[in-house]
């Protein structure tokens, strides 16, 4: 009995906390980069990063930015956001911990 009350209460609490923290949802970064016809390709970004010492697992578009999963030249396993036109590095995070954010 006690267990279920505690569990129910705690689950409700966590669920509420989860719902009221939009930072966890995708939308960690957004880019105003105009039409996709003006964008550089993901392959160009990957080639550029590999040249700089990154290893790339996966890339996709999120919030109008390029999002890359991989390892930085420093050896950090991260997800990183890049501007699709300038290919500028915008945000690097490791499981939610921000390692770099463009000022």
């Amino acid at each position: 009995m006690k267990y279920s009350v505690i569990t129910a209460a705690a689950t409700a609490l966590i669920a509420t906390a989860g719902l009221s923290s939009p930072a966890l949802a995708t939308g960690k970064m957004s880019c105003e980069a105009g039409p996709q016809s003006g964008w550089k390709t993901q392959d160009e970004l990957k080639a550029d990063l590999v040249k700089k010492g990154w290893t790339i697992k996966k890339s996709k578009i999120d919030g109008g930015c390029y999002e890359v999963y991989g390892t930085t030249p420093e050896g950090d396993r991260v997800e990183a956001y890049f501007h699709p036109v300038s290919l500028e590095k915008l945000l690097v995070s490791r499981r939610g911990e921000i390692l770099f954010r463009k000022q």
């Binding site: 569990t7 966590i14 989860g18 999963y69």
Partner: protein
């Protein structure tokens, strides 16, 4: 024929109950060919309804996922979500059987589920282990694993798996006999594992929809269970008071 298939369906949900004896009223059809067909049909259905076949069913998602990975269709990173989701899913199924039995009482389908609760629990652990294996494959080395260990979305996952270990290790008849009453107390750690799993899922995944879709039904069933049990207890009290 209709009668046969109906019987078959009914028997599919019945517990194993083969007497091997024929009642007097059965005798005259004992050697009838239709009787033999029916018997064979039931034997097959009983086999299909057995625990080993059920384990195969539970492992089908894993087989499909691993096949996709080995074929190169899915990278290790993308194996994390489906393996984790199935682990949580089976844990939740194992957990809702008791609330369902409180809500619906003694039903055949509840007995059927209850008989498979251990299978669901062990499947949850198995998928959790698969989740860990693909995490290690994806991370490639110990250093990056340690570097992110204390991220809230990561340590909660490790802790959930850690709690799962004693639950899985004691999921057998021998442990139940040896541990007696404390077996039940030990298995209640699953509530801690569930909270850690929920926290892990909410923190690590983009978007909370999937986690909530799985855990809100569990929460509601647990709440209903508590309400019903409190209700019964209070009813018992008022009856005693009125005596």
């Amino acid at each position: 024929m209709v009668n046969f298939s109906l019987m078959a369906v009914v028997n599919f949900f019945l517990p194993r109950r083969h007497t091997g004896q024929a009642t007097s009223c059965d005798n005259f059809i004992l050697d009838h060919p239709a009787r033999n067909i029916q018997d064979n049909g039931m034997k097959i259905l009983r086999k299909l309804n057995s625990l080993p076949v059920f384990w195969i069913l539970l492992s089908i998602p894993a087989i499909l996922m691993v096949r996709g990975y080995l074929a190169g269709d899915i990278i290790a990173m993308d194996m994390l979500h489906p393996t984790g989701e199935f682990s949580a899913r089976f844990m939740i199924v194992a957990m809702i059987i008791t609330p369902l039995s409180v809500i619906f009482g003694n039903r055949q389908w509840i007995a059927w589920m209850m008989k498979r609760r251990r299978s669901f629990g062990l499947a949850a652990f198995g998928y959790g282990m698969l989740h860990l294996i693909f995490y290690i494959i994806d991370m490639e080395a110990l250093e990056p694993i340690l570097a992110e260990f204390w991220a809230p979305g990561i340590w909660t996952g490790w802790a959930a798996l850690l709690v799962f270990v004693p639950l899985a290790v004691t999921s057998n008849n021998l442990s139940m006999r040896r541990l007696k009453q404390s077996w039940k107390h030990l298995q209640r750690l699953v509530y801690i594992a569930a909270l850690l799993t929920l926290a892990h899922w909410l923190l690590i995944h983009d978007g909370v929809g999937g986690a909530l879709a799985h855990f809100i039904p569990l929460l509601l069933l647990e709440l209903l269970r508590v309400i019903i049990i409190y209700g019964r207890r209070n009813n018992g009290l008022t009856q005693r008071e009125s005596l």
